[in-house]
Symmetry: C2
Subunit: 447 residues, 2 copies
């Protein structure tokens, strides 16, 4: 399939493979919160196979049942990428993203939200991984090496221009150009701040939580997060236990995982105020822009954070316009991939709201570190008020795992988006026929 084009051979995408991979995390209550009592962290794992050179890898993170639906959705995009020239630059990556988002028949299934949009994100991310691998650069450096004009060219400004115009985006990027090299060097030396949310799962008993909080402090983290929202008395007791053990210097965020209505959120958050929560995450429905704004006004100066379930750039635009969030938690696999996340980073920069990405799950730490580092090098030039969630599990399944040292993410240096899983992990955890599922003690979840 390789075609000679003068000196260069034009590589093409041969196939889009997708695998249902599930980890039985519910057995230990890892990942439990007020809305998700027993997740099995999973991935619809997508591979763009090429006719020569490296392949590209992407995934959608899900929490178990329905991962097969997500796999079907990724597969439905094959006709838009198979046979295509391997994208190598900003223009080709923007065109690929536009073709996926713009398929008029598939668009009906969103538009730009839910299963179909997350599938687009996986394929777009695989294409970015592919391009960065072929450029021999980690994604954050590949992206931060583009010109301001190229980066603006990635953004789909449809529905954004009342909040951010191409000229405004260009001005933001140009202002950050002078310090790019110095900030790249700083990241390679000192990394990027992280915070620990492994200690705070709602299914953990107090003693386990306190032990894990102490371990996180000892490892160098200066911020942790607790899940809240099931029972106010429990939340107050857990916060008190943590404050008793870490003092008032450490930042303690709380995360309600969409548990509350607006009036309940206001009451509950204000009841927790004496423990100085650093931010309150997902106080209500991720769709409720006006609700977030009402809560933010009523609980100030406590910050409101959201993003892991915010389904596209139009929703982020409004959360920023309405003052609904003062911390923006972008997600690597909820929206349409790297391309849409560039738009979201530019929106956040326009409104002066720090981005603190959502991570954990499967491969999210691996991916979002690249986006935060790109933001630092080429968009905002700042780490102030910024930190990346860190959850220390499932990294062993990735060829280029995310790493923290002294509470900071170590800047990745391997080419690509850190999205490739070990073939042996994919084989073992494939659902329902991989050996981890066929030989498991507990029955696999339906269907």
């Amino acid at each position: 399939m390789s075609v000679e084009d003068g000196r260069f051979s034009v590589a093409r995408i041969l196939a889009l493979d997708v695998v249902d991979v599930r980890f039985p995390t519910s057995r230990e209550l890892d990942g439990s919160d007020a809305m998700n009592p027993d997740p099995d962290y999973s991935a619809a794992y997508a591979v763009l196979r090429t006719d020569s050179g490296p392949d590209g890898y992407g995934l959608v993170f899900t929490i178990g049942r329905g991962n097969d639906v997500q796999v079907a959705a990724v597969g439905a995009l094959a006709h838009l990428v198979v046979g295509r020239e391997v994208p190598a630059d900003a223009a080709a990556l923007a065109a690929l993203s536009a073709d996926l988002v713009g398929d008029s028949q598939l668009r009906w299934l969103g538009p730009e939200k839910g299963v179909m949009h997350m599938a687009i994100g996986a394929v777009v991310n695989a294409a970015w991984d592919l391009a960065a691998r072929r450029a021999g650069l980690p994604l954050w450096r590949f992206l931060a090496g583009m010109t301001a004009e190229e980066i603006v060219g990635l953004v789909d400004f449809r529905y954004l221009t009342d909040a951010l115009t191409p000229d405004e985006a260009l001005a933001i990027l140009r202002a950050a150009e002078p310090g790019r090299a110095a900030r790249t060097a700083a990241l390679l030396t000192a990394g990027y701040p992280g915070y620990a949310s492994s200690p705070g799962w709602i299914g953990y008993p107090d003693e386990k939580m306190v032990l894990l909080v102490k371990q996180a402090m000892a490892a160098g983290f200066d911020m942790i997060k607790l899940k809240v929202g099931l029972n106010l008395e429990d939340d107050l007791r857990r916060l008190e236990r943590v404050r008793d053990n870490v003092g008032s210097e450490v930042r303690v965020a709380v995360d309600a995982n969409q548990r509350w209505d607006v009036p309940v959120a206001v009451t509950w958050i204000n009841a927790m105020a004496r423990y100085q929560p650093y931010w309150v995450e997902e106080p209500t429905s991720p769709d409720d822009v006006l609700g977030h704004a009402a809560i933010a006004r009523a609980v100030a100066p406590i910050a409101v954070a959201a993003g892991e379930h915010v389904h596209n750039r139009v929703m982020f635009k409004q959360l920023l316009q309405a003052g609904g969030i003062s911390v923006l938690q972008l997600d690597a696999t909820r929206v349409g991939g790297v391309t849409e996340n560039v738009a979201i980073l530019l929106l956040a920069a326009k409104f002066g709201v720090p981005v603190c990405p959502h991570a954990g799950g499967v491969g999210l730490c691996e991916m979002v570190q690249h986006l935060a580092m790109f933001d630092y090098v080429a968009v905002t030039g700042s780490q102030a008020g910024r930190t990346i969630e860190w959850v220390d599990h499932l990294h062993e399944h990735f060829v280029d795992p995310a790493v923290t040292q002294g509470g900071r993410y170590v800047a990745p240096t391997a080419p690509g988006f850190s999205t490739r899983m070990w073939p042996e992990s994919v084989r073992r955890y494939r659902f329902p026929d991989g050996p981890e599922w066929t030989t498991a003690q507990s029955p696999p979840p339906g269907p």
Copy 2:
């Protein structure tokens, strides 16, 4: 499987069947608009098979590619309904809906939006069809025969209480109780207003449009709708042609199908103002609550309408709170089925905004007529400013097709939700192996 429970046998759901049905409508440009140039109107058709008595039928309307993803999503819900007792009353229907929406692992794929939520809608609608069939009543009468308390019990008030409380909903329903019988009789005699959008597809040449508009007027419709948004000159010429032929008495709505950014929408709509558009539908992204509100303020007194892509009750709540819409176009298969649409009707009633359902597609006219008639009998008691979209195609595939006479929907009298398709239609149009696809001249669209 039937179990004797005293005198009565308890019927159970044996299976959830789902079929990929596609109609090759793109061959004639039926259904073409500014964002959807060549739809193949399709359905993920769901059947709740029972061990005795009637089965229940539901569907998700899609426009072609991706219908297989929708089929997979419906199938992923089987474990929540198979083996369940056939729901017979409001409490059982509310419980079934809550179980589907509340599955914590599947919820991650939305939450409450996109492919997974539409799948829930199909199954919930099939359950309502089942219950109404067994009660021997058309759905609108089955639903309007419930007590105010039973109807309030259907509503999931999570995320709604800042706009609508259970007590407020109860008060709305109680106020409408006195006239229920008289309004039921009025519907059976005189039907419910409809409007025609078949004439206005954007792919039709002017002559065909004018001919179809005249036919609609002759058939008794006093309102039509035109697709707009591709080219302003074309839109102005088409509006002028229509006004030249129907005069100023007939209401002419226009539909931009999400084509514009906020500033463009304002300019474009005001340019069309001289032709007195009755409403402007989907001027921008269905997610853009604040954008709709800005447009509505800038184009008043022209009404802004939206709903066919508004993905759940939380979004409708905000569109109403922000003044973003003055016409609410609920959809039968975008949200979580009849149950969530009851919540949406109550929200609209609270804010005094008329509901004019989106229809057309596959089976949408059949379904939404029941919801509009329920609204008239038991919620608002009014037909003022209310009308149901009418598109005259694909009805022949339904056992109990929607019917209009003199521009009004005839109240359905057959038991159920009018969702059952003829088995022969399902067989012929099954994708990709039904004879309409295997013997078609043009190649079938990719999966």
